[in-house]
């Protein structure tokens, strides 16, 4: 197991290096410079001032040197300072937003798990039943519906028409004055729609995979053997079939992390949630390179951590992987 983890960690570091290298070059080689945004609007800026500004940001050096400098700082976990007017350290800016984005994603992962797996099992066990047919329709619709559109519809329904849920931000204006329970209640009410919207695609996907996984497993010989031994159908389904059908789901959950993180840009923008996605959107618009690189790196680390968790849990439940 230790050897397995070590090998995975080395692979992960290598991938992380590749991701940062690729992102850095793509971002810095794209036409236009961050200094343009600061200077274009101002007719008083002379070319010399512009050069001085570029030098100040280190943008005048060859890109390989710039990447080297970035890398040297990053190993000490120093993401540099933001280009924006507040000049705050990038890590401080990201740090305060990680819990929000991560929290919503974890909640929606839990929701996906709790809802999708029972649906998948049940529609596999009762294949071609009314329940199976209804969920199949739901799954295909959930796959095809753009999440930001669902968000809009739910905002119209619950926020504009029924006035039962808030539609923007994660706290109300009077948040500071509320009691502890009032605060929890307030945040929960704000999170209902974002969590639901970000989970819906995953629920559709995972329940589908769960269904086909179960159908695949139920056909295997050892299930026939279990039934032939006279075990009750419940035991066969939940003891023998379920365990093996769950395996691929772990991998898929791990692989869905980048999608969830990437999707956070859209729904944080819709619901005005001050998370990493919204910060990324604003930084990209201002060409705030250090923040953009910082978020891409953190996003990649979270993705790799998700994959790693998936690999570990896979190894824990499947001895074949562990021993290999």
């Amino acid at each position: 197991m230790t050897k397995f983890l070590l090998k995975k960690s080395v692979e992960m570091l290598f991938t992380l290096f590749g991701i940062t290298l690729l992102s850095f070059f793509i971002i810095h080689l794209a036409p236009g410079k961050p200094t343009d945004i600061l200077t274009d609007m101002n007719p008083k800026v002379t070319p010399e001032m512009r050069e001085r500004l570029e030098k100040y940001y280190g943008l005048d050096k060859p890109i390989v040197v710039q990447y080297g400098m970035w890398l040297k700082r990053i190993v000490r976990f120093d993401f540099g300072d933001s280009f924006s007017t507040d000049r705050r350290p990038v890590w401080d800016k990201i740090k305060e937003r990680i819990p929000i984005t991560l929290g919503i994603n974890v909640l929606s992962m839990i929701l996906i798990f709790v809802v999708a797996i029972p649906i998948g099992i049940y529609s596999a066990v009762r294949r071609y039943s009314v329940f199976d047919k209804v969920t199949t329709v739901f799954v295909f619709t959930g796959f095809a519906a753009p999440s930001f559109w669902l968000a809009l519809l739910l905002m119209i329904l619950f926020g504009v028409k029924l006035h039962v849920l808030p539609i923007s931000g994660i706290t109300s204006l009077d948040y500071d004055a509320l009691s502890v329970w009032g605060k929890i209640w307030d945040v929960s009410r704000h999170l209902v729609l974002p969590v639901f919207v970000s989970a819906i695609g995953g629920i559709a996907g995972i329940s589908r995979y769960m269904r086909s996984g179960m159908l695949e497993v139920i056909r295997q010989d050892y299930i026939t053997t279990a039934r032939a031994k006279g075990l009750p159908e419940r035991t066969v389904t939940y003891r023998h079939a379920l365990r093996n059908a769950l395996l691929p789901i772990i991998t898929i959950l791990g692989l869905s992390v980048p999608g969830l993180i990437g999707g956070s840009v859209i729904f944080e923008q819709i619901f005005s949630i001050p998370g990493m996605g919204l910060l990324f959107y604003m930084s990209v618009m201002m060409r705030d390179y250090p923040v953009v690189m910082g978020i891409l790196t953190i996003g990649a680390i979270l993705t790799l951590a998700g994959n790693m968790l998936a690999d570990i849990s896979y190894a824990l439940v499947d001895p074949r992987v562990r021993k290999a």
Binding site: I19, W149, I156, I266, V284, N307
Partner: protein, 279 residues
């Protein structure tokens, strides 16, 4: 084999429905100037944000433009984006996948590592950054979506090539002294095309979703050109007063993506022999 697939596809009602939706979309996109009730860019200052009525079936937007006509023209955009983006990702994926699968060894390791790296980047972040830097616009989106979505195709082609490369017909082609490119493209690729074709159909759906998301954020197709995504942006800014700007364009995206997905999944089931016995 072909007739078996066709029979099975025809029996799958959902796949057939998907196919019909896709064909209808092509028809609507092609006939857009004929079937649009209004000029999609015609501004009517007297009738802004009017709800659906007999004169404007799906209402008008904040400039008084007819939503139905704009959606009909939007179908052209989504078709174009879907197919060009997937075309680009197919070309890249096939080249990388076939080189990795045919040569194996170091080339394979490097390419597959690159695929892993691309798969670990939250792609939407990367797309957003690149589009924001190079500037929004339909061609930029199609290229960027294509450049960030080829990894699945590369994996599929590689897997097919790994199983094909020691088959007799490949060995005989090699001993005849055919060029490697010819063997890969003319002899091996057609044999491994079926799963690639299906993933391409599903890829069109994914590309349409990404495009609508980008347009919604204001980074995609730029107004006044109509796209389903940028009509939805208007829906958000007028959320309190004009629900029709939010409901209908999203429905169009939903139906389109559903059509491609149903067709793709149906084809996958139809060519998968493992599923043949039990239906």
């Amino acid at each position: 084999m072909k007739s078996v697939v066709w029979t099975r596809l025809r029996r799958n009602k959902l796949a057939l429905a998907g196919g019909i939706i896709v064909i209808m979309l092509f028809v609507v996109a092609l006939l857009a100037p004929v079937i649009s009730p209004y000029n999609p860019d015609e501004i009517d200052a007297g009738g802004i944000l009017s709800p659906p009525a007999s004169s404007h079936w799906l209402g008008t937007d904040d400039l008084g433009r007819d939503v139905l006509s704009r959606m009909i023209y939007g179908a052209r955009i989504s078709l174009l984006v879907g197919f060009v983006a997937v075309g680009i990702s197919l070309i890249i994926g096939i080249i990388f996948g076939s080189v990795a699968g045919y040569y194996g060894g170091l080339a394979d390791r490097i390419i597959m590592r690159f695929v892993d790296i691309m798969l670990s980047i939250p792609t939407f972040f990367l797309i957003l950054a690149v589009i924001a830097f190079v500037g929004p616009g339909i061609w930029n989106i199609m290229i960027v979506i294509g450049l960030t979505s080829w990894m699945g195709v590369a994996r599929l082609v590689r897997a097919e090539f790994l199983t094909l490369r020691n088959r007799e017909f490949v060995l005989s082609a090699q001993s005849l002294g055919l060029s490697r490119t010819r063997i890969m493209m003319r002899h091996m690729l057609p044999n491994g095309m079926a799963p690639v074709f299906i993933s391409a159909i599903l890829g069109v759906a994914a590309a349409i979703l990404v495009e609508s998301g980008l347009s919604f954020l204001g980074l995609g197709v730029q107004p006044p050109t109509a796209s389903w995504g940028n009509i939805l942006t208007l829906g958000k800014s007028n959320i309190e007063i004009a629900w029709w700007l939010s409901v209908y364009p999203g429905l169009a995206i939903l139906v389109t993506v559903l059509g491609y997905n149903l067709l793709g999944e149906g084809l996958r089931d139809a060519i998968d022999p493992r599923l043949w016995e039990n239906r």
